[in-house]
Each structure stands twice: as structure tokens, then as C-alpha cells.
Amino acid sequence: MARTSYPALRVASIALLIAIWAALVRFGVYRFGFIPSPWSVLVAAAAYVTDRDFFLDAASSIYRVLAAWGASAVIGIPLGLLIGWKRWFSELTFPIVELLRPIPPIAWIPAGILFFPQIELSVIFICFIGSFFPIVLNTIAGVKQIDQTYFRAASCLGANDGEIFRDVVVRGAMPSIMIGLAVGMGINWMALVAAEMIAGEHGLGYMIWESYSLARYPRIVVGMIVIGIIGAGMSAGIRFFGRKMVPWQRSLIAS
């Protein structure tokens, strides 16, 4: 397939998108009249990012996401490694993982609020559920796909179980763990926005919902864009970190 590319088109593409948005709103096609225009969003953005609330919201959202992500990594990675490595452990615990996995993190919102009387903890819990499963499942897959040759090579060079775990299981699963962490972060943001909308106080998701309630519509779009930018930044950070962690496999975490 030809790998021709049209760089000018890419710029045009984004310009066109904004132009269509502006036109739809300007001429009020169908119900686009209710949607804020690009210009009003720009004005609202200028006001919001210089506001103290912006830093408060952003900081509390980032804090919640990082806490949940960290917790699910700390619990999920060892759990996944053990499930992938030891058959008896897998047979004992994996059915539970399978049982809970189909429940989307959003469905945990009422339960989360019930479990933890503090809003803060329940939001973090809901985010935790979001990233926990991708991390566990990718870690398991990572261990399972390690070629048996490496286990054999280690054992015939004299490694015991602990050393095999350290030098083969953990390191062999690392590329897949990194993917799990990246995917988990994405779902984390999704769960966060839902949890903050429904249950939160402060935070960017809450801000979006509050702007809706207070009919400050352009702010909704500002909030969406801010979430997008922070989320993309964090994903880039994880990819960077991932490349550092798996220097032997350069292209793996490219996307």
C-alpha cells in the first residue's frame, strides 16, 4: 500500500473541523444552537485557566487518578504475575477476576459511595476498579506469553524459583505490564469523570457537571479540553517511562 502523505491536508483537516463547528453553531443547524461556539469556548478558557478553581480542580483530579492508578498497580501487578506464573494460584483466584471483570467501573459508583463514607475515597475506589482489571489482565497475558525457553534457560543455568521469578517472570512480562499501565490510565480518566460528575466535589469532572447545572456551557467544553490535554500528557508520560523500563524492546509501546 502506498505510503503517500499529504501534510497540508492534516492541517486543513483540523481547520476544517473547527470551521464546521463554528458554522453549525452560527447558523443553528438542528440543535447546534445550544452548543457553545469556538469563540465563546476560547473566552471561557482564558477566564478559567487563570482562575484559582482551575488549579484546585486539576490538582484534585490528578491526585485521585494517580492514587488509584498507583494502588491498582501495586496490587494488580503482583497478583497478575502470580496468576500467570503459578497454576494453582491461577485456578484459585482467576475465576474471581473473571467474575468481576464484566462489571464496568461506572456500575461500581453507587457501591463505591456506599463502601466509603468519604467522597474522596469512593472516587479513588471507582478509579481503582477502572485501572485494576486492565493491569491484572495484561500482566497475566505478559507472563503467559514468555517463551518457555527462557524458564528452561534460567533453570539450567542454576536459577531457583525466586531467581526465575525475578529474572524471567517479572522482566519478561514487563512490556505487557507497561501496556496494562497505559490502558489502565486511560480507563482511569473515564471512571474519574463519571465518578466526579455523579458523586464528586472538586475535580474536572465535577466542574463540567457544575458548569452544566449553572448553564455556563462554554466551560463544559473547556473542561473537556483540559481533561483531554492532561490525559494525553499522562499517557505520554507512561509511554516514556515504559520505554525506559523495557530498553530491549523499542517499538513496543509506540501507540
Binding site: 527462557y150 533453570s155 539450567c156 543455568l157 536459577a159
Partner: protein, 274 residues
């Protein structure tokens, strides 16, 4: 009885699965004398690799026994463990992709606590240099050519001084030129210091060119059909590939193996047709 070398006696192996039984090996006997180079050839799926896995301790046997330098290392019920006295060079390469070449080579000595990390590094560097592999110590295996990877893996296997080197079709899937480079490499190492080598392949030329003896295995259940001595002198050189002795031997081995190969091939097709 307590002579040096690897001794495989009447080894049998039955696999069990949900479908039932498969007999992979049946009464397999083979002697690899100390510092000898023995090659086993046979069609794919004949159980060569099973035999090697039993010797290495990756698999257990259901009959017979395996002795190394007179000590029994595998017998039915006595579940063997892989150990640094029998190091394997793997079919698809067994260097850890997540470790640099130097860390790979040091891995055995460090893990066995034979040397300190610093010592091991020094020894590994020296060993790599002695075979013309200096300059790649901090490289990851994925960034090396396939020939360099194989050589580094052989060095990793040899650095701890194993009692026997087990080579499981190590040059499979390499192109002809790379293969002949590696043949010279292995022969030169062997000429310098003969190790006990148990080598498995399905490449007949390779078998004759490298080995002191070539054992032909039957198709499943695997059994040793014939053992042929290779009277070519050492050091070997690729000029010998055209010698009368070589050609004569090649004809003999080809004949013995071809029959088995056709049998295995037909069996394989029949199995697929079901």
C-alpha cells in the same frame, strides 16, 4: 560404569494427555564419551528433542536411566532437575532479550554464586573477547545479528564449565552462510578445548561435519536405529566437505534417514487428513 561422559540407557518416554497415550521414545540407548562430540539426527517429531529435554531435566522419563560422569541424573520416578552441569543451547535462541549480552553471559556464574558479579563480568569480557565478540557487551540480543546471538549463547553455556553441552538444533532456520560461519566457530571452540557435546539436528551435512559420531533416530516412537562413526580428522575444515570419506558417509546417513523421513512425513499427512 563410572566412566566420564553422558550415558543414556534404555530410555523410554510416554506422554499422557486427555486424548490418551503417546509413546515418544522407546528403548533409546546412546553413549557420549567424555569430551566427545555426538550428533543425533532424525526426522522432525521423532523425539530427538524429547531425549534432549530428558537429559537436561526439563522432562521426566518413564523407563531407563541417564547417567552423567557415572552419576545417575534421571530415572523413572526420580524427577530430575535442570542444573548448570548440563547447559542447553536452544533451538530458537535462549538469550534473555531483556538482559545485555554481558549480563546474559554472567548470569550463570553469578546465580550459582561461583563468582562475584565483578569477577564474572571480568571473566565474561575475557571469554567474549577471546572469540572475537568484544564491543557488544552492552548490546541487547535483539540488536545483534543471528550469528552473533548464537555465538553469545554458546559462550553463556560454556562459561560455567558444564559437564555436557546440550545443543538443540541450535542452527535451525539460519541461512546457509551464517550456518557455516557458526560451524567454524563451534569447531574452533571444540578444537581449543573439547567439551562433551550432545548435538541434535536434522541437517545431515552439519551432523557429519561436526560430530565424532552420528546416531540416526527412527520416527516415532524414537529409537536409535544406527550409529555411524565419523573418521574425518580434526581440526576439520570445509575443504573436507568434498572428500571421499565425507561423501560416502553422507550417502549412508542420507539413506538411513530418508526412509524415516518419508515415514514421518506420511504419518504427518495422514494425521492432518483426519
Amino acid at each position: 560404569m563410572s566412566s566420564a561422559g553422558l550415558s543414556i540407557r534404555h530410555v523410554g518416554k510416554i506422554y499422557m494427555s486427555r486424548q490418551g497415550w503417546t509413546q515418544a521414545l522407546d528403548d533409546c540407548s546412546l553413549e557420549v564419551p567424555g569430551r566427545g562430540f555426538s550428533v543425533v539426527v532424525g526426522p522432525s517429531g521423532c523425539g530427538k528433542t524429547t531425549l534432549l529435554n530428558i537429559v537436561a531435566g526439563f522432562d521426566d522419563l518413564t523407563q531407563g536411566e541417564v547417567r552423567l560422569d557415572g552419576n545417575r541424573i534421571a530415572a523413572p520416578g526420580a524427577s530430575p532437575r535442570p542444573g548448570p552441569d548440563r547447559v542447553v543451547v536452544f533451538q530458537h535462541g535462549g538469550l534473555f532479550p531483556w538482559m545485555t549480552v554481558l549480563d546474559n553471559v554472567c548470569y550463570g556464574p553469578v546465580i550459582q554464586k561461583k563468582m562475584t558479579a565483578a569477577h564474572a563480568r571480568e571473566a565474561a569480557r575475557r571469554m567474549l573477547a577471546s572469540v572475537g565478540l568484544s564491543g557488544i557487551e552492552t548490546t541487547y540480543p535483539g540488536d545483534l545479528s543471528s550469528s552473533m546471538r548464537r555465538r553469545a549463547e554458546i559462550i553463556r553455556a560454556l562459561i560455567g564449565g558444564p559437564k555436557v553441552l546440550l545443543m538443540d538444533e541450535p542452527f535451525r532456520a539460519l541461512d546457509a552462510l551464517t550456518k557455516s560461519v557458526l560451524h567454524e566457530f563451534l569447531l574452533r571452540l571444540y578444537d581449543r578445548e573439547p567439551y562433551t557435546i550432545f548435538f541434535i539436528t536434522h541437517d545431515l551435512m552439519e551432523a557429519i561435519y561436526l560430530g565424532d559420531s552420528v546416531s540416526v533416530m527412527t520416527t516415532r516412537p524414537g529409537r536409535i536405529k544406527q550409529v555411524l562413526g565419523v573418521p574425518l580428522p580434526r581440526p576439520r575444515s570445509h575443504k573436507m566437505l568434498g572428500s571421499g570419506t565425507f561423501l560416502k558417509l553422507k550417502e549412508q546417513v542420507t539413506e538411513a534417514v530418508h526412509e524415516e523421513a518419508v515415514k514421518a512425513f506420511m504419518a504427518g499427512e495422514r494425521e492432518l487428513a483426519r
